[in-house]
């Protein structure tokens, strides 16, 4: 009688038809198991080799498999049709495990886990047993090697280590834990056969992986780690997996993951896009960025306010713009100058820009348009454009600066200074040139992030956090945008930056962002003093945000005289103003 029930239950499970197996199961396990350690005779008759001692285990797994298949079928995922080769199905325990592990890589994995964890069934610590030794044995064998080497996925690593955490579903599900877990290192390195003692010092993260989003982040970080360790085979497998996981996401997370995966892929395969493509559309892309998000507007308005205040009382003013682009910053300043009490000064603008691939004089065109505007509003205007590959190629003499009793000089740099860090000595040379220009004020706007660390992994994690926040903020802008093309172009603009931070090295990695604190140190040691942005700038910035951003998640913060714009708690760009330190 007992054996009939045994057989019936297992058969039902295998054929996939659900017949309240748990009820049958509890009845079944009330009876004592077979005393002998050999293969179960009845199963052998059917053609399945199962050890009697394994039967409890196998039955449990069959149950899970059934659940997994059920849920997978509902979702209609094509997971079961992947090219996985299962050898020796008569080895029932092994077959069940391979099926489970295959299914576990679909997004139902998380669901199963939560079901298992929360349902309170007796769970051994090896539920989905990716036991190390088993895999180590099979590593070299032809069996059980899937297309994408899924053993290396951190998800499995988390689960075999942290079973107890699955049931504890009280954990806050923080998507962007920036610290890497050293458990990844252990799993990855033990499987890859290389132990890296240095990374063991990193803090461990206990995360409740209930979302694919979290898995996605983990996989990205594991991939970056693999790249850092030069383990390209593993990195390759992981980056493909990221691509798959990313597709199941929506919104900002998906875009960020896609861009980072692409950047990692470029780094792994060493495929870099043509240089000419990079520079030709950067102006256009930045225009879209200007239109979509408030960051550039914030930058321009705060810098303009500082410049305007420093120009008080001057009759001839000269602004040197380190990155003219389309000159979007200057109409507002000219307008403010035109309306100031006492009338506008003579406004001279020197714009610096990179050489254009098609040899058009883009700078001169922009200058001409600004001149037209100046004429309309009644401001005397003079323009000069300088084409330079790098700011370090310029000299103060070239710019024809007039003496300070004749004209007041302001130097403005929006997102340009960090590029100089790619070449040693460049930034110091430029700072010296600035000093030689004898400016009344220097305004610098930079991204508030440290993407210039020496360790690739740290840089990667920082960038992941920064751009995720940035993309999140764009999602809110997207709600009110009539033109979705703008948003797409903005994402491309940011995607290029991501690619540069992650995939490039040496002189070509120009997006070397540094934090305000770092820039402060640099400016101070170069001989500059901070100029506090006043309350006017703060008010204007706050108003600007209220107008353009619906006031939802954006925050303007004042940081010791500098203004920062951020999304919720994370500051993303910072404006600071400087003057020459008075000679003692």
């Amino acid at each position: 009688m007992k054996r009939d029930r045994d057989r019936g239950k297992v058969e039902a499970a295998v054929s996939g038809s659900a017949t309240a197996p748990s009820a049958a199961k509890t009845k079944m396990w009330a009876e004592p198991p077979q005393p002998d350690a050999g293969m179960d005779e009845l199963f052998a008759v059917l053609g399945y080799k199962v050890k009697s001692s394994d039967m409890a285990d196998v039955a449990e797994k069959l149950e899970q498999l059934e659940m997994a298949m059920g849920t997978t079928m509902e979702e209609g995922a094509a997971v079961l049709s992947t090219d996985t080769v299962h050898f020796n199905p008569s080895d029932l325990p092994g077959w069940v495990e391979s099926m489970l592990s295959e299914l576990s890589n679909s997004y139902n994995f998380a669901m199963i886990q939560s079901q298992i964890g929360i349902s309170g069934e007796s769970s051994s610590s090896n539920q989905i047993s990716f036991s190390n030794d088993r895999q180590a044995v099979q590593q070299d064998g032809a069996k059980f090697i899937y297309d994408d080497d899924l053993r290396a996925i951190p998800g499995g690593a988390i689960f075999s280590n942290k079973q107890k955490d699955v049931v504890d579903s009280e954990n806050e599900n923080k998507r962007m834990k920036s610290s890497t877990g050293s458990e990844f290192t252990e799993k990855g390195s033990s499987l890859a056969g290389a132990a890296d003692a240095a990374t063991a010092a990193r803090p461990m993260v206990l995360v409740d992986s209930q979302e694919t989003g979290v898995r996605l982040v983990h996989t990205l970080m594991a991939c970056a780690e693999a790249v850092q360790q030069e383990n390209m085979k593993l990195a390759d497998a992981l980056v493909k997996h990221v691509g798959r996981l990313a597709v199941s996401q929506v919104g900002a997370m998906r875009k960020v993951a896609t861009y980072f995966a692409e950047a990692l892929a470029r780094k792994i395969y060493k495929i870099y896009p043509q240089d000419s493509l990079e520079t030709s559309y950067s102006d256009v892309l930045q225009m879209h960025f200007y239109d979509t998000a408030p960051y550039l507007k914030f930058a321009h308005f705060t810098a303009n306010q500082a410049i305007l205040e420093s120009f008080a009382g001057a009759t001839r003013v000269h602004v040197i713009d380190f990155g003219l682009n389309q000159g979007m910053q200057w109409p507002a300043l000219m307008q403010a100058l035109a309306l100031r009490p006492g009338g506008p000064p003579t406004f001279r603008l020197t714009g610096i820009g990179p050489p254009q691939p098609d040899n058009t004089d883009a700078l001169q065109e922009v200058g001409w348009k600004l001149a037209q505007l100046a004429e309309s509003i009644g401001v005397e205007f003079e323009f000069r454009g300088f084409v330079a590959n790098s700011l370090a190629d310029l000299d103060a003499n070239m710019l024809d600066i007039r003496p300070s009793n004749v004209e007041t000089v302001a130097v403005n740099s929006v997102f340009e200074m960090h590029r100089l860090l790619a070449r040693p000595g460049a930034v110091d040379k430029v700072l010296n040139s600035i000093k030689a220009m004898n400016p009344k004020i220097v305004t610098i706007v930079e991204q508030e992030a440290n993407h210039n660390g020496n360790v690739f992994l740290d840089r990667f994690n920082e960038a992941l956090h920064y751009y995720s926040t940035m993309f999140d903020s764009l999602e809110s802008c997207g709600l009110s945008q009539p033109n979705s093309q703008d948003i797409v172009m903005t994402e491309v603009y940011l995607g290029r930056q991501i690619c540069n931070v992650v995939a490039y090295e040496g002189a070509e990695r120009v997006e070397r962002h540094e934090t305000l604190a770092q820039w402060r140190g640099r400016m101070k040691s170069a001989g500059f003093e901070p100029e506090h942005l006043g309350s006017n700038a703060f008010k204007q910035a706050s108003m600007l945000l209220a107008v353009f951003a619906g006031g939802d998640g954006y925050r303007v913060e004042e940081n010791d005289g500098c203004l920062m714009l951020g999304w919720h708690t994370r500051s993303l760009i910072a404006t600071s103003a400087w003057r020459l330190r008075a000679a003692v």
Partner: protein
């Protein structure tokens, strides 16, 4: 009987009043139009050709923009005129800025919302700056970006769309 007499009297009064045509008294008409809000001005523009021409008069819109502001900074008028006029200023910048900043909307009798709060210097400055940027972007840069884009530069178009606040 007495009731009929009263009705006749009223009818005569109404007829007398009807002979007074507002279109003959332009000053009065303009004074009235000055007090309207933008939507009403739009409605008024549809009444007849005269009213249409009057409502396009920029000084009406200037009044609408800055009626609550004490003396304007000098030179604003010329600048605004050069950049496209007060009507455009209102539609592109002033109105969105006011709505976004929720400057004390008060419901008037008929339900139309009129801003009662006095503008501060900052808001004026911001509006003018945005107006200038808009002029630069749409008039001067307009065709240059992406060569042949059908939709106009949208830096300030975001202001025209209601924001999910």
């Amino acid at each position: 009987m007495a009731h009929e007499l009263q009705q006749n009297e009223r009818r005569e009064e109404i007829e007398k009043r009807a002979k007074f045509c507002i279109n003959d008294n332009m000053d009065l008409l303009i004074e009235i139009l000055k007090r309207l809000d933008d939507r009403s001005l739009g409605v008024a523009a549809c009444v007849c050709r005269l009213w249409c021409a009057l409502t396009r008069n920029d000084s009406l819109w200037e009044h609408l923009c800055f009626r609550h502001l004490s003396p304007q900074p000098g030179g604003v008028r010329t600048m605004v005129a050069a950049l496209g006029g007060y009507r455009r200023l209102y539609m592109v910048c002033v109105k969105p800025v006011m709505t976004r900043l929720r400057l004390g909307k008060v419901r008037w009798g008929s339900g139309s919302e009129v801003e009662r709060r006095v503008w501060s210097r900052h808001e004026v400055e911001l509006s003018l700056s945005l107006f200038c940027v808009d002029y630069y972007e749409s008039v001067l840069l307009g065709g240059g970006r992406l060569g042949g884009e059908t939709s106009p530069p949208s830096s300030l178009m975001i202001l025209c769309k209601a924001v999910n606040v």
